[in-house]
């Protein structure tokens, strides 16, 4: 959802190229003076969307139905962006824009395509165009039912926007690709099946790390070593980070893991495992165990320093007020308690965590 699909990149460039052309072309239409500026802006946005759709045809020739729909959409948008003074322009434009947005939602819901940045930005352009088509302005030369248009605009555009955002988000969360193991986490690319050497290396890393962190089962020793709890303490588990080790930039050093993970129990913190973390974004660490020890990076997290809470960024690239969009540099967990996902899983299984806490 937050990447540009390779076969959609051409649409992005087609749109960028089309914007100045559409603005110049609009000035060459003498009749434009008889329509409001909002309609002119909508025409430019539709031309932009039309160019993006036509640009996508070249990379979708192997999908004849999709390519044909792109051609029809592109031609219709370009045609309507020129026919500004046509009597039925508003109705036709609103119908086409709404049908295109809804059609896209059906397309991704049926998994004919996956949501990406080009598609999402095109839909936002179309929603803005729809709003501009519908909005009544003062002193229009052609009379229309203003109350009906205001109601359609005020209810329809937000409803369609929320419907689009929620559909895209649900589809994206329900169908993560191989690199997205869970919401917001991108997994390091590795070979598919671990080799015998990688299995041995992973076991060695596990043994060395477990032996090094066992003293920290007494959380007082972790505190003395410089580990401090972060985030809300009312959660089932909590990361304790060592600022000195983070700054020093040790790379997967079992003696100096950047973080420890504790379960919060009635009897105090109970050690679950360690966490290695790299210093910089997009720089995954060494991967001795191949797919067994793949690092992961958390992207597009909404983090708030007030109360140290977090959520995920919406498909509209917006966080709740007071939270900012951040990404966390690559990390690798080593779990020393039983975890169904394995000792290097991205997360500890909630049931396993609950069992650990219940035993405490």
């Amino acid at each position: 959802m937050f990447e540009i699909a390779p076969d959609h990149a051409i649409g992005f460039f087609a749109g960028l190229l089309a914007l100045p052309i559409a603005l110049i072309a609009l000035r060459l239409i003498p009749a434009r003076r008889s329509v409001p500026g909002t309609a002119q802006a909508a025409a430019v946005l539709m031309a932009l969307s039309g160019a993006i759709h036509l640009g996508l045809v070249t990379t979708h020739l192997e999908e004849p139905v999709t390519a044909a729909l792109f051609v029809m959409n592109g031609v219709a948008y370009l045609g309507l962006s020129v026919l500004l003074t046509w009597r039925w322009w508003r109705l036709a434009s609103a119908a086409l824009l709404t049908a295109t947005v809804l059609g896209y939602l059906v397309y991704i819901a049926l998994r004919f395509d996956t949501p990406d940045q080009v598609a999402l930005s095109t839909k936002l352009i179309e929603l803005a165009a729809l709003g501009l088509v519908l909005v009544p302005v003062r002193g229009e030369s052609r009379p229309r039912d203003r109350a009906w248009y205001w109601a359609t605009l005020a209810a329809g555009v937000p409803l369609l926007t929320v419907l689009m955002g929620s559909t895209v988000w649900l589809v994206d969360l329900a169908n993560p690709d191989a690199q997205h193991v869970h919401a917001g986490a991108v997994l390091q690319a590795t070979n598919e099946v671990a080799t015998p050497e990688q299995t041995v290396a992973a076991a060695q890393l596990y043994a060395e790390t477990k032996a090094a962190i066992l003293p920290y089962q007494d959380w007082h020793k972790a505190w003395a070593a410089g580990y401090r709890p972060g985030g809300p303490s009312n959660m089932p588990s909590q990361h304790w980070m060592n600022e000195a080790y983070e700054k020093a930039g040790y790379v997967m050093d079992p003696q100096r893991p950047q973080g420890l993970v504790y379960a919060n129990t009635r009897r105090g913190p109970l050690l679950l495992g360690a966490m290695f973390q790299m210093q910089h974004l997009d720089q995954f660490g060494p991967d001795p165990g191949g797919p067994l020890t793949a690092w992961h990076q958390h992207e597009n997290i909404c983090f708030t320093p007030f109360g140290f809470g977090f959520s995920l960024m919406t498909p509209f690239a917006i966080c709740p007020l007071g939270a900012i969009d951040i990404s966390a540099s690559p990390m690798l967990h080593v779990w020393i308690v039983d975890n169904p996902g394995g000792p290097f899983a991205v997360d500890i299984d909630p049931a396993a965590l609950a069992a650990v806490r219940a035993r405490a």
Binding site: F2, T38, V157, C302, S311, F316, P320
Partner: protein, 123 residues
């Protein structure tokens, strides 16, 4: 004076308010999962969205204060977004982020500034 710029700004503000409502609602599942403070931020986002809708209505009605408040609000949004993009914290720089967080507030400010627009807002 007949200009459709305030109506165009109304449409963009309506979209922006919808984005904030979506962000506010998105915080609720995390609040239910234990990130209790997120509910405060979620409600604050929805409150801001409501305020933005009121300001958008004010633009259509040509209220002078609405224009000033919208320009101020969008300037804060734009400044915050530029700051977020400038610091190396891994903020998203995709086309959607650029459209929503940079282009939208910038266009609203451009639509509402200038002598002609000041004159159009008489009430």
């Amino acid at each position: 004076m007949n200009t459709s710029r305030p109506e165009a700004a109304f449409v963009l503000l309506l979209m922006q308010a919808t984005f904030w409502v979506a962000a506010g609602l998105s915080a609720i599942p995390f609040a239910l999962a234990g990130e209790v403070f997120m509910v405060v931020l979620g409600l604050a986002s929805i409150l801001l969205a409501s305020l933005t809708c009121l300001l958008a209505i004010g633009l259509v009605r040509r209220w002078r204060r609405s224009r000033r408040w919208v320009i101020a609000l969008e300037a804060v949004c734009l400044g915050g977004s530029v700051l977020l993009l400038a610091v190396p914290i891994g903020a998203n720089r995709g086309p959607v982020s650029l459209l929503v967080n940079l282009a939208l507030p910038l266009v609203v400010i451009v639509l509402l500034r200038g002598k002609r627009m000041r004159a159009a807002f008489t009430r």
